[in-house]
């Protein structure tokens, strides 16, 4: 038998996998009584529903034609995710400037269309907006520069 729809097949697998995982992880969630349904009731119902739906999607993939999974844009997918992660991991420790530069540069690396001279100009503007609006305008408690630099005598205003 030939699988006709890559998209449906993968979706079915995804639903079934998540459903099974939800059942296994939630196996010891108490069911409670009919009058006081416990923690485990809805997760179990939903997990079985998800598995059932996944099976139907799978069945459809076997029986009918459907679209294939189009080309995955690995470069933007990876770079954009890394950009968010970089922001998340640096903001507390290194402050706004480092986090913004890391996130923005990684995003720019996500597309071949980036023109670097234009990018640096734009990044400078964004830095000014970001610091001006969020740190000083809205007064969010974020440090602008890494602690080491902010601790230096001349770094005080940037804390």
């Amino acid at each position: 038998m030939r699988l006709k729809s890559g998209q449906d097949l993968a979706t079915g697998l995804l639903f079934i996998a998540i459903g099974v995982a939800a059942l296994l992880i939630g196996a010891d969630y108490p069911l409670g009584t009919a009058q006081r349904p416990g923690t485990g009731v809805l997760p179990r119902i939903l997990a079985w529903c998800l598995i059932g739906t996944g099976a139907l999607v799978w069945l459809k993939a076997l029986l009918t034609d459907g679209p294939r999974i189009g080309g995955v844009a690995w470069r933007p997918a990876i770079m954009v995710t890394l950009a968010v992660a970089a922001f998340a991991l640096t903001i507390d420790r290194f402050g706004l400037v480092v986090a913004m530069l890391a996130a923005m540069t990684l995003t720019a690396l996500g597309t071949p269309e980036t023109r670097w001279r234009e990018y640096f100009l734009f990044a400078a503007i964004m830095l000014a907006i970001g610091i001006g609006l969020f740190r000083y305008g809205l007064g969010m408690p974020i440090s602008v520069l890494p602690r080491e630099i902010a601790d230096l005598p001349w770094g005080l205003p940037w804390r």
């Binding site: 998209q7 449906d8 993968a10 979706t11 995804l14 639903f15 998540i18 992880i25 939630g26 969630y29 108490p30 409670g32 009919a34 009058q35 006081r36 349904p37 416990g38 923690t39 809805l42 997760p43 939903l46 529903c49 998800l50 739906t53 996944g54 999607v57 459809k60 999974i69 189009g70 995955v72 844009a73 933007p76 997918a77 954009v80 995710t81 950009a83 968010v84 992660a85 922001f87 998340a88 991991l89 903001i91 507390d92 913004m100 996130a103 923005m104 995003t107 996500g110 597309t111 269309e113 023109r115 990018y119 734009f122 964004m126 970001g130 969020f134 809205l138 969010m140 408690p141 974020i142």
Partner: protein, 504 residues
């Protein structure tokens, strides 16, 4: 309802909406909404998700007035891009491209834009009035609801969301279940047990609505848009003469009226909204026109009807949210998120407990519509210039605002990680042809349904038949079942597929 009460309510609304601050937030929402409406690749859902953290700093009235402004503002902005660039700035203005852009090519961009704006304004006024009239009786009805009725109504809402999602019905059903499961992550409020937290402290409070929404709508969108090198066929020819001819106006009156009515009706349906409305209105015009073959060649009717319909629907979709506390689409889910940030539990009690907020928001919609007409027509040149910003730069700005927005919620870098994860997941779903909107609705409604389910079971002493013996609940469930059956029936299914394919 008595006319006197209606006027008293509206007067209260005016007094709230007209305060200088609220006028300012209304303006801000309308302008931001127009901007994101003009820009393809940035929709009202992502924008509202972006601004939710900022609204935390505003009073609740200002916050909701601004968020609402973004939604209907986007309906105005979307038509500008559709007419001038032949790109839908907003998914609800897809059909406007067909005739609107043809008009622009014939040098009649001005009248097309003017009719779109005026039609939207008219629809906005009527729909605002419709909300004011329909909300109180519906709220009164909602107060009779028992837990099982709420539960079944939410089931119906989710079924509507499934039926009206474009693409596969099965996948949409799966997305609802998946969303509900994700909504259960965290501490179970009734028993204090934790679910699916993997011992990670940050998950004990559950996954936040904002990071999930921003991930699947904001970040995933960036990934998808960075891939497709878009071309913009900008009608750089000056927009000369906004005034429609007398003939234009004469031909537009009836389509605007029909579009407003149809859009207003479809907007109320759970799961409905601006996209469905604009498409249906266009189809209706084409069907009843004596010259259907001429549609697509620059017929003003093809601009007037869908643009009125999408704005009417954008407004009336507030009705189920305001009266029942049930979001009918992703944008309304966002509005509920905005209310919850301010500690307001959406539902029928809002109108009684916070009449100023309720009526102020409704009146602000009318004011916002007025501002949009006055502002947009002269400023079209400015909006067009916005289209010249290349996406590679826009992407950087959107990504940064997503990150800082989520960070500002709790000053927690870990929550920013969640939007990264959901961004990637959202992109995967896009590749699999799964729509994120039902997921988001399930995510929001899942925990609410669990609460009502438990309450119903407790009150009925463990008798699950209560969902079928109570008439209202039974009616909702029957409607849901009927709806699902209809979709599975082949003829309806084929119609729906052709309808939604063109709307994609």
């Amino acid at each position: 309802m008595e006319i006197g009460t209606l006027f008293a309510n509206l007067a209260l609304g005016v007094s709230v909406a007209i305060s200088p601050q609220n006028i300012l937030w209304c303006l801000a929402g309308a302008v931001i909404g127009t901007a994101v409406g003009v820009l393809p690749g940035l929709g009202p859902v992502a924008t509202m998700a972006l601004l939710l953290p900022v609204t935390y700093l505003l009073p609740p009235e200002g916050a909701l007035i601004m968020l609402a402004g973004i939604y209907y503002g986007a309906q105005y902005g979307g038509s500008t891009t559709a007419i001038l660039v032949n790109l839908p700035g907003e998914s609800s203005s897809v059909v406007t491209c067909l005739d609107g852009h043809q008009m622009a090519r014939q040098g009649r961009a001005g009248p097309a834009l003017a009719i779109a704006a005026l039609g939207s304004f008219f629809a906005g006024c009527v729909a605002t009035l419709a909300i004011a009239v329909a909300a109180p009786p519906l709220t009164a009805l909602a107060q009779q609801f028992r837990p099982e009725d709420y539960f079944s109504l939410m089931v119906l809402g989710l079924v509507f969301a499934v039926v009206l999602a474009s693409g596969s019905v099965l996948k949409a059903i799966g997305m609802v279940f998946l969303g509900m499961l994700l909504g259960l992550v965290g501490t179970d409020v009734n028993t204090g047990n934790t679910r699916y937290t993997f011992g990670i402290g940050d998950l004990f409070d559950g996954i936040g609505f904002v990071p999930v929404a921003m991930g699947v709508f904001g970040i995933a969108e960036i990934i998808a848009n960075l891939t497709s090198g878009e071309r913009r066929d900008l009608m750089s020819s000056r927009v000369t003469g906004l005034m429609p001819t007398r003939d234009d106006i004469r031909r537009s009156v009836a389509p605007v009226l029909r579009g407003t009515f149809l859009g207003g009706l479809l907007g109320i349906l759970p799961g409905g909204g601006a996209v469905l409305a604009s498409f249906s209105a266009y189809t209706l015009e084409k069907r009843i026109s004596p010259t259907p073959a001429k549609f697509g060649t620059g017929m003003i009717e093809g601009v007037a009807a869908p643009e009125s319909a999408n704005n009417a629907a954008a407004q009336t979709s507030f009705i189920p949210m305001l009266t029942l506390g049930i979001p009918s689409n992703a944008v309304m889910a966002m509005m509920i998120g905005g209310m919850m940030i301010h500690g307001i539990v959406p539902g029928p009690q809002v109108m009684e407990q916070r009449p100023g907020l309720f009526w102020g928001m409704i009146v602000s919609m009318w004011i916002g519509n007025l501002m949009l007409v006055v502002l947009n027509l002269p400023l079209i040149g400015l909006w067009v210039r916005l289209l010249l910003v290349p996406y590679r730069l826009l992407a950087i700005a959107i990504l940064f605002f997503c990150c800082i927005g989520v960070y500002s919620l709790n000053n927690s870098g870990n929550e920013v990680l969640i939007i990264g994860a959901f961004g990637l997941f959202g992109y995967l779903l896009m590749k699999l042809g799964c729509e994120p909107a039902p997921l988001l609705l399930g995510f929001l409604l899942g925990p609410m349904m669990e609460v009502y389910m438990r309450r119903a079971m407790l009150l009925s002493r463990g008798d699950a038949w209560v969902f079928l013996t109570r008439p209202l609940s039974l009616a909702f469930l029957l409607a849901a079942a009927l709806l699902l059956l209809l979709v599975v029936a082949p003829t309806v299914r084929r119609m729906r597929e052709t309808a939604l394919r063109e709307a994609d």
